[in-house]
């Protein structure tokens, strides 16, 4: 920051930036919308999958709104670390959206309860059987030669796998209700310790070979158990709960610091606050990166505990950033239309920049999604490909399933169409078209999360009123939280030292 900037701060307050969110009464319908969770639970309970269906719908909705909160937090961090001026007028909205973090912590409780009560219906590693198996898994790891991982063994045994093996795998995989099959299988294997302890021949994944002799790769549930057991030191109930306590402590702490300090500057205009946040934000980004990576592993990846992908946290992060720019565009446009923010305070120029970021993260998402897919596709190891096979995202025609259409739709509608659609400058500078693409991408962000999560419950497409009502219910909680925090203070920072510069911002 230059000295010149510091002297600008007193003037900034005089510009017509006194935006105020006067939507306190919006809180009531928003809280009312939470009632939608009740019919969602009832509808799920009478359905085929019972409350498990509701929990999956709930995790999708939770991941969706958490991605907005996390995206908002990271957006604020980046503005401070880069000392950005253009974004000052829209920063408060992001600070408020990040402050929905305490609400998200409350929203996490049903997931914690599900894991704690140990059903294992949603997170297989949380079942009492998983605990049992994992204990032996540990023993096994200790008693046999260290470092001999089953992945290597699996690869060796994949070679002689015959048509017979492929049949078994397919039969095990084919039932519509995979979880039920899994549970049935689990009872079979809930046998004495000897059976779990080292029998390498049992460790081989059953492999399907397609017409071209390529490995389609579906692991059987016994192999899945052994893989899961090896992760028991990480994937167990107490550590899971402890990690989420840490995640939310970090996220709430960071969100609160950014919001509180920024609000404080509204009245004091103290330039030291800006300087402090600039020094603080790099630390915040490091904490953010670590917590988001592990939170994604825990929330989404561990639904399929045998599977692993190190880029998975970045994949979710890409969705976070995509959704926050979409939400910022929609919220800022809403506030402008309602006259709560002056149209020159957040101008076409600012919205254009949000649009550029939206476009950028469309590409970023595709880049990360493809990076994940290509490495797994290319290596073609059964212990990683099965996750994509479950989603029908495969080049092997025999492995297509009902999720295939979603996999293809994501490539086309989450990347190609918005990529071409958002490319033009005119589209990003026209309010209606920019908002259209923001809504489009939020819809496909949800479909993306649905595609990540729901196949772990059912190999057939599952979407309906349960998912919609859950989204409405959790959305009500989220909106109520955001509106309440937002109406406490001005919705535009008041005495930020870079305010004048932000107001003068123009795309060259």
């Amino acid at each position: 920051m230059t000295e010149q900037e510091t002297t600008q701060s007193p003037d900034a307050g005089n510009v017509s930036t006194a935006g105020k969110l006067t939507g306190g009464k919006l809180c009531i319908p928003a809280v009312g919308a939470m009632g939608a969770l009740v019919p969602a639970i009832i509808l799920a309970a009478v359905g085929n999958y019972g409350l498990t269906r509701f929990m999956f719908a709930y995790i999708i909705a939770f991941a969706f709104f958490l991605s907005i909160s996390l995206g908002a937090l990271f957006f604020v961090c980046i503005q401070h670390v880069s000392r950005a001026a253009w974004s000052v007028t829209s920063r408060r909205v992001a600070e408020v959206l990040a402050m929905t973090m305490p609400v998200m912590a409350i929203a996490f409780l049903p997931i914690a309860a599900n894991v704690w009560l140990g059903g294992g219906d949603v997170y297989p590693w949380a079942s009492s059987h998983a605990h049992h198996a994992s204990a032996h898994g540990e023993e096994h790891a200790d008693t046999t030669h260290a470092g001999n991982d089953h992945a290597a063994a699996a690869a060796d045994h994949a070679e002689p796998a015959t048509g017979h093996a492929s049949l078994t795998a397919r039969d095990e995989y084919a039932p519509d209700e995979k979880k039920n099959a899994h549970a049935a299988d689990a009872t079979q294997h809930a046998a004495p310790a000897q059976e779990v302890v080292v029998d390498e021949s049992h460790a081989q994944p059953a492999v399907t070979l397609d017409g071209h002799g390529r490995i389609a790769g579906v692991i059987d549930s016994h192999t899945e158990e052994i893989y899961t057991a090896k992760k028991a030191a990480y994937l167990n109930v107490p550590f899971f709960i402890a990690r989420w306590v840490i995640y939310f402590a970090v996220w709430i702490g960071l969100s609160f610091t950014f919001w509180k300090k920024s609000v404080e500057q509204d009245s004091t205009g103290d330039v030291q606050i800006t300087r402090f946040l600039e020094r603080f934000s790099p630390l915040a980004i490091v904490l953010f990166a670590v917590t988001v990576t592990y939170a994604t592993f825990d929330l989404i990846m561990s639904l399929s505990p045998a599977w692993f992908s190190t880029i998975f946290g970045v994949y979710y992060f890409a969705g976070c950033m995509l959704s926050i720019f979409a939400v910022l565009i929609l919220v800022l446009s809403f506030l402008r239309n309602k006259g709560m923010i002056d149209k020159d305070t957040v101008s076409k120029e600012h919205l254009h920049d949000h649009g550029k970021f939206l476009f950028g993260f469309v590409v970023f998402w595709a880049y990360i999604a493809f990076s994940q897919y290509m490495l797994i596709w290319y290596a073609s190891l059964p212990e990683t490909t099965f996750w994509f096979v479950a989603r029908g995202a495969t080049t092997v025609a025999a492995d297509f399933n009902t999720w295939s259409i979603v996999s293809i739709a994501l490539v086309i509608c989450h990347f190609f169409i918005p990529f071409v659609g958002l490319m033009s400058r005119h589209i990003k500078r026209t309010n209606a078209t920019l908002q259209f693409w923001a809504v489009w991408l939020l819809v496909f962000h949800w479909i993306d999360l649905w595609w990540l999560i729901m196949p772990e419950m059912s190999v057939n497409l599952k979407v309906g009123l349960v998912e919609i009502l859950t989204m409405v219910g959790l959305g009500g909680l989220f909106v109520a939280g955001a509106v309440w925090v937002g109406s406490l203070n001005a919705i535009v920072p008041q005495k930020d030292p870079r305010m004048t510069e932000s107001l003068a911002f123009k795309n060259m």
């Binding site: 002799g213 290509m374 073609s380 080049t395 003068a504 123009k506 060259m508």
Partner: protein
Amino acid sequence: MVLGMPTKNPDAQSKVVAIIAEFDSVDAILAASEKVRDAGYTKWDTHTPFPVHGIDDAMGIKPTILPWLVLGGGITGCLGGLALAWYTNAFEYPFLTSGKPQFSLPANIPVIFETTVLLSAFGAVFGMLGLNRLPWHYNPLFKKKSFSRVTNDRFVVVIEATDPIFDVQRTTDLLNSLTPICVEEVED
């Protein structure tokens, strides 16, 4: 021509190629630009020590066609990369690699991506140079004293003689009416 002793022949006086007017503030250059624009000149330019907000409008500059060149480069790179992957892997030298099909889109996307980015960047860089007619090895403006401070604290308007409505006298009068610090003729 002997060094240090330029031959001066009044009759063969070198031609005026442009007229330059020097200003000392952003406001002055913006006001002057609007006048020159409204007078109907098309072959002219402004030079400033830093990017000036609003100068595009003041000069009446039309949006650049550069994005279309970048798009063209990108599409060429995309299709070219695809063709290259097909030609080398599936047509000219088919070779089985880790059991994958000869022509397989997932394996080719990194190549297509890189060639798309490469040719887009070429479109942007060479398109920009082309549109600006760069590089120039010689520019008579550099001989002018008024031009020497343009990277420091002066703002200049240059109207070229190739402009259809250029006339040494009338153009000089117009520029003089804009209250510049000075107006000079630029000879080749």
